[in-house]
Structures are given as C-alpha cells and as structure tokens.
Symmetry: C2
Subunit: 220 residues, 2 copies
DNA sequence: CGCGTGTTTGATAGCAATCAAGTTCTGTGG
DNA sequence: CCACAGAACTTGATTGCTATCAAACACGCG
C-alpha cells in the first residue's frame, strides 16, 4: 500500500457515478491511499478504527472458514464507504480487486474536523446501505438457483452504469464466492446466458446485456 | 392485534434474558401491543414509521419471492428491536411466531420524548446488531452444509439461555426458511444429530444439547 | 375418539459440486 | 513483435447432496 502524495495525478474512477461523488467527509478530511490488485486493505480481526471510501477501483470484503471456504460479503465501488464496525474488530477482511485508490480517516479525527453529528450521520448512512444490501444478499443465497444468482448479479453490476458494455472488476472465483457457488457453475451459467442471447461476453471481464427483460425475469 | 391496556397483567417472557431488559426507550415511551401466533406485525412494502421491541414471544421477518419461495431474515426475541428501515417502506414483513407482546413507538414521538440524540443512538445500535447478524447469516447460507446450518442454528438458539432444555419458538418450516433448506432436510439433520447423541429432542419444539463441543465442531 | 396440522421417514430425481482435461487470455522476456 | 509460461476460464464426465414426491406417524384439540 502506498500513500498518494500527488493526488491530482491520479486517474479517476472509470464509472460515471464517481463524477457525481459528493464532497463527503472522507473526501474532505481523509488521506488518499493506493492498493495494488489483491492487496489487503485490512484483515479479519484487525482493530477497526479507520473508515474507508473507494475513490477508484473496487474492493471486496471476505470471510474465511477454517477449511478455506470463503464468503464474500460485498463488493465496494467508487463512492462506497466500507470498513465500519460496531465492535472493536473487523469481522471481514478487505482486499482490492484491482489497483485501487481509497480515502481513509480515523473516526475520532473526522469527528474533530467535521463534528460528531456529521460523522454519526455519515456512519449511519453507510451502515444502512450495508444492511440493505446484506438483506438482499440473504434472499439470493438462501433461495435462488445458480442461474438466478448469476442473472441477479449481472443485473446489479449493470445497474451501476448506463454504458452498454459493462466491465467486471472481479474474476469468476470472486463471483462464485459472492454467490455461494463454485467457479465452474458460474462459468456454466454465464455460457448459458450467452447461448440464450441474453447477455454477451466479448471477453470474460466485460459484458453487454442484450435482453434485459429476459435477464430480469431470470433474476427471480 | 390488540392494544394491551393492563400491561401489569401480562405474563413475562420465558427467557431469563428478559428479566435484565433495560428500561430502554421503547419500554419507557412505547405502547404495548399483543399479537396472536402467526399474526402479521407489518407487511412488506408497508410504510415504516414505527419501531418495535419484543417484550415476550418471538417475531420473524420474512421476504417472499413471486413464486412463493420464502427467506426469513431474522428471528427476534425478548429485548430485541426490529422494524427499523432507512427507506420509507418495510423491506421484509414481520409476523409473530407465537402469541407475542411488543412495545411500539413512532420515531418522531420518541425523539420528542427522549431527544433526537438518544433515538439516533438507539436506532444505530439496533441497526448495527441487525447488520452483524445478517453478515453471519450470509456465511451460513452461502457456504455451510445442511448439517452445519442446523448445528449453527441450534447453537445460536441455545446460546440465548443457560437452562439445559431450550424451547424452539418456531416450527420446522421456519427453521428451513431461515437456513435456506427444505423442511424435510431440516428434519433429517435433527434426527441425525439426535442419533449421534449430540442433541436430544424430547419433543420437536424443545431440545437439550448433550455434546456441545461436538455441536460446535459441526457448526463449522 | 377422530380429525387436522406438523413432523418424520422413505424412495427417487435433479442441480450443483467435484474431478479432470482442454482452451483462452495475459503478461513477460527473448 | 512474437513465443512462451502461467493463470484464468471453459467444458466434459461423474458424483453426491439436497430437493422433491409420497406416505406414515405423532401430537394437540375440539
């Protein structure tokens, strides 16, 4: 991980969403950091006194079982806040999916700079978003079929942009660990959606939704 | 649902935990309500301006797919707060598992009575607990086997009491919809744990953990 | 006592996991 | 710029776990 001294030299996020990124707490008072692809931002059970916001790139939060099974909690994209905990320790680890820039701040420092109330509201908003997403994720993991899981996932990613071609910041293994599937099953479902002319994959990291209504029908 | 006029006449929760229920916001300023077994407390997509706390009994939050598949988000026991939303609508419905008493309050009324800051802290605490539980639930749904799911579930329930015999407020179907299984699979796993002398079920709504280390090993 | 609901047990089917090659993509060095 | 090595992805064959379908059993209640 490296401290970003010349923040003006940084490339901006590729998603249009980041253009509209409001000058939030962290953007104002945080420190810019850069992480290489697959570099750890924080570890599970590490002390949690910092909060993070993605500037460019993407981050995953993951939890590991003793035998190596892995569950990804969520993916965070430019503008998203992550790393907030209510206990003293991180309950997931966080890693950069690709070369990623984040802004980081200490809760206490932010409170001094911007006021406790502003920080509390900021944290509450981010926590609420996490909870809503986790609850949607529960239904997906508990009750959807492999095909529905992949369809929902692609829709969710596609929803974040309005360009026709959507880039996937994560590989098949990360998709599998998010969806509670194996990498082979994800691959087969992708092929299936492609054969059905619903989604087209010009490469394995990029797709185009060809039949959105069909994809929406499949996603539930 | 009925308004509880004579609150002093109510039976108290069966769990020891409720004895230590702190005189929280809702306990002080809320209105007592009684719900019959399986009665709906609120519906999905209903407007959400009330918050709830279980006094006695138990509540489940559920989400339904168009074809009837059901996912239970969480179970709430005496002392637990539920029904908080960040958008305008409820994202799950809530139903009483058995005859249940709840205290209810409007966010705005509570803020007038106890102050905005106290309410905000109260909501933040409850949201944080919901998020932590939802994240544990993700790992269970995404990566655990049927046996591990049932073992984890029983441990989680048993953890709430220190009496040897634990009552299950929910039936097999509710367990299945929480764990992302079918009722038959839940039943088979229960039988299996019983055959292995790890857990004993004197009746289908009550169990005793006979070998906790084994149950903990199975739960992950 | 008999009915209905909820649970358990049994037989079978099917979806996704596993095991095992191939194939494509990517980055690197000649 | 091309050749190569390793990683990532896809495809195929098979297994196995859990769902489904079906029936018996147990319990609570009128």
């Amino acid at each position: 991980m490296t401290l970003e001294v010349h923040s003006s030299s940084q490339k901006f996020a590729t998603e249009p969403r980041s253009q509209a990124l409001p000058a939030g707490l962290l953007a104002q008072f945080g420190v810019r950091m850069a992480y290489a692809r697959h570099e750890e931002v924080y570890a599970q059970e590490e002390e949690a006194d910092l909060i993070y916001q993605v500037v460019s790139g993407a981050v995953r939060t993951t939890r590991l079982m003793s035998d190596g099974r892995r569950q990804i909690g969520d993916f965070y994209h430019p503008g998203d806040v992550f790393g907030i905990e209510h206990g003293p320790e991180h309950r997931f680890s966080a890693e950069a999916l690709c070369d990623t820039i984040v802004v980081v701040g200490k809760k206490k420092a932010l409170a001094l700079a911007a006021g406790q109330n502003a920080v509390d509201r900021f944290l509450a908003d981010a926590t609420a978003r996490d909870l809503d997403r986790a609850q949607d994720h529960l239904l997906l993991l508990g009750r959807k079929t492999a095909c529905e899981k992949v369809a929902s996932f692609l829709l969710g990613i596609a929803h974040r942009t309005n360009r026709p071609a959507v880039d996937l910041p994560m590989g098949r293994q990360d998709m599998a660990d998010y969806l509670g599937l194996t990498i082979e099953t994800v691959s087969r479902m992708v092929t299936q959606l492609q054969t059905a002319m619903i989604v087209e994959f010009p490469s394995c990291r990029q797709f185009i939704v060809r039949n959105r209504p069909a994809l929406e029908r499949l996603s539930d």
